[in-house]
Amino acid sequence: MAASTDHVEDLVGKEYEHGFVTDIEAETAPPGLSEDVVRFISAKKDEPQWMLDWRLKAYEHWLTMQEPRWAHVHHQAIDYQAISYYSAPKTKDDGPKSLDEVDPKLLETYAKLGIPLEEQKALAGVAVDAVFDSVSVATTFKDKLAQHGIVFCSMSEAIKNHPDLVQRYLGSVVPQGDNFFAALNSAVFSDGSFVYVPAGVRCPMELSTYFRINASKTGQFERTLIIVDEGAYVSYLEGCTAPMRDENQLHAAVVELVALKDAEIKYSTVQNWYPGDEEGRGGIYNFVTKRGDCRGDNSKISWTQVETGSAITWKYPSCILRGDNSVGQFYSVALTNNRQQADTGTKMIHIGKNTSSTIVSKGISAGHGQNAYRGLVKFAKGAENARNYSQCDSLLMGDKCGAHTFPYIEVSNPTAKVEHEASTSKIGEDQLFYCMQRGISEEDAVSMIVNGFCKEVMKELPMEFAVEAQKLLGISLEGAVG
């Protein structure tokens, strides 16, 4: 697991690189959101005027907006004035001193996922004090990408070093006023990832787990922007299979993807934020806006997500199929157990000619979990010969959970072709008994049946990620049967 060590090393290296510890320690904005807070954040990050103006515009817009209420989820009202919108990165003194101080249940899960010890410490927030020869590893990685002209850095760095690209594309897919949470994010986003792949370049590696740990430090309002120029390709992996704890309950990230002519973006997510206890207390609210713009002809954007964490998940990774012949794909597994709620799906907006989209959604509900698929497939007037295939399958475990499907289809062009298939099934006692009669434990049987159900989505994940995600599904459902 050399790669895993790299993450830790990067983490350690990164803190020093940015001088977080020395610069902004002990500085936290008071709770509440105001224009001053937005200015404070921007100043803390030493941003140029244009960035501050952009944030302020978003803030003004946010003030005029109402929190949406249409999702099939229930939670207590969020007090936006009780949240602190800027807190300095944690110092080493804040976290547990060693793994002995960490919740044994969490450690058990890490062990089952096969996460190396050093990485466990980082995930659990234990101060990693060791001095690695980290800089060299990170540098090698960045050098290799730089050789291809690929920019892969934090959003803060991009604002400083690539202002032209950021100014041109930031908000071009998800405008500041797009929705309540996107506006909030635009005003106060903490950090995130920035990727630019120049024309004709095929990114030689999965841009990935490099940020696996770092991402947990980017805070509750993450902002990601990925631009893939003409004829270029990138595969980006976000998230982590290990459960991540965070005292920030509200997470409102924005992800924007731009694919120019002949470009392809593959974006894979494994989301496993803390779901709360069995009653759902303390879990993360994950309200995310993810959208990709197939801006050029023959471009392709593919979203794959495995959502097992968070108390409430509310996200619709979408594709705007603007270029002719462009392709949008959405492959999703959403699992809800105990009191978890998920309202997730996608929007496929067909604008260009001969555009095509595929939606494969697998919802798994156990315990008291509530799982909704919500999707919009829209064919604009000019979308000649566009087509969509949607498949929504739900798997229920037990009789206290729920599965809901809300497919919307809007067609303004008579040549459009739409296919929609949906199924709901229950993990049968027949299936479980059959497995157990062959000697397979109930736990393994559930995991096997669920993974079989999700196979079409799992095969879209990069290999290493897929193996972890499979284990994760099994672990997330422990105790769900019997």
Binding site: G428, E429, D430, Q431, F433, Y434, C435, M436, Q437, R438, G439, I440, S441, E442, D444, M448, I449, N451, G452, F453, C454, K455, E456
Partner: protein, 251 residues
């Protein structure tokens, strides 16, 4: 191997088995015959440990151990195999992958090392050949889209790979045409040996034309009303179940 004494079982408050006595020794093949609703399938399910059955009396010893105290997967690992009347489909789960999980669960229980992919494939191919199982079925999801005959053959194939000590075949002949029946029977015969006990649960005598049982028992209304050798099966074929049941009432 298997010692059933005065076994009483009810389902939802209704008595189904009303005192079964049956001893099956290693190497023996027993046919359990009987009309519909006599309790044949209940008997096989109870042996395998399916939920929903309440044991209200009697005992079942397997290799001297109390079988009823064991979880279904534990029974399987100890060598009890049930060939299902209606094999279950598990979409998306590869047949070989499924079987490998099963074999390794059994091996682990026996304190043996798990088989690696190469050794396992070798074993699978050898067994598939032995029971004339089409290799293309191995690559598919467990029973998904299989024909009735293919499903039953898959059961026999799994049995060949798992090498159980006690195999219970629940109506394995039902729904099979004569060719499929012959192939399944050949599979079972090839697995017959002096260490393995086999219970054939069947409504019809025709399976017994291909698999010759050592003993035949007639189950009716939750009891074994008559036992004999294979000639009993032939008699049943000729005269139906009526005469056995009548005699039982008269006695």
């Amino acid at each position: 191997m298997l010692e059933i004494s005065d076994l009483r079982v009810s389902v939802g408050g209704k008595d189904i088995l009303k005192g079964i006595n049956l001893t099956v020794n290693a190497g023996e093949v027993h046919a359990i015959m009987g009309p519909n609703g006599s309790g044949k399938s209940t008997l096989s399910h109870v042996i395998a440990g399916r939920e929903g059955y309440e044991v209200t009396g009697g005992s079942v010893l397997y290799g001297g151990k109390d079988l009823m105290e064991m979880e279904p997967e534990e029974r399987a690992r100890e060598g009890v195999f049930l060939a299902f009347q209606y094999p279950v489909e598990i979409p998306g789960v590869n047949n070989v992958y499924f079987l490998k999980a099963a074999v390794n669960a059994v091996r682990k229980h026996q304190g043996l090392d798990e088989l690696d992919a190469i050794d396992f494939m070798k074993l699978v191919k050898e067994k598939a050949k032995a029971v004339k199982m089409d290799e293309s079925l191995l690559k598919r999801a467990v029973n998904e889209g299989f024909s009735g005959g293919e499903k039953k053959r898959n059961e026999i194939f799994q049995m060949a790979v798992l090498e159980p000590k006690l195999a219970v075949l629940d109506e394995t002949d039902s729904g099979l045409d004569i060719d499929a029946l012959r192939i399944v029977a050949e599979g079972v015969n090839s697995l017959r040996n002096e260490h393995r006990s086999i219970m054939l649960v069947t409504h019809y005598q025709r399976l017994l034309n291909y698999i010759e049982p050592d003993y035949v028992h007639v189950l009716a209304d939750g009891r074994i009303v008559k036992s004999g050798d294979r000639r009993l099966a032939e008699e049943l074929e000729e005269r139906g179940y009526g005469w056995v049941l009548k005699r039982e009432v008269a006695a």
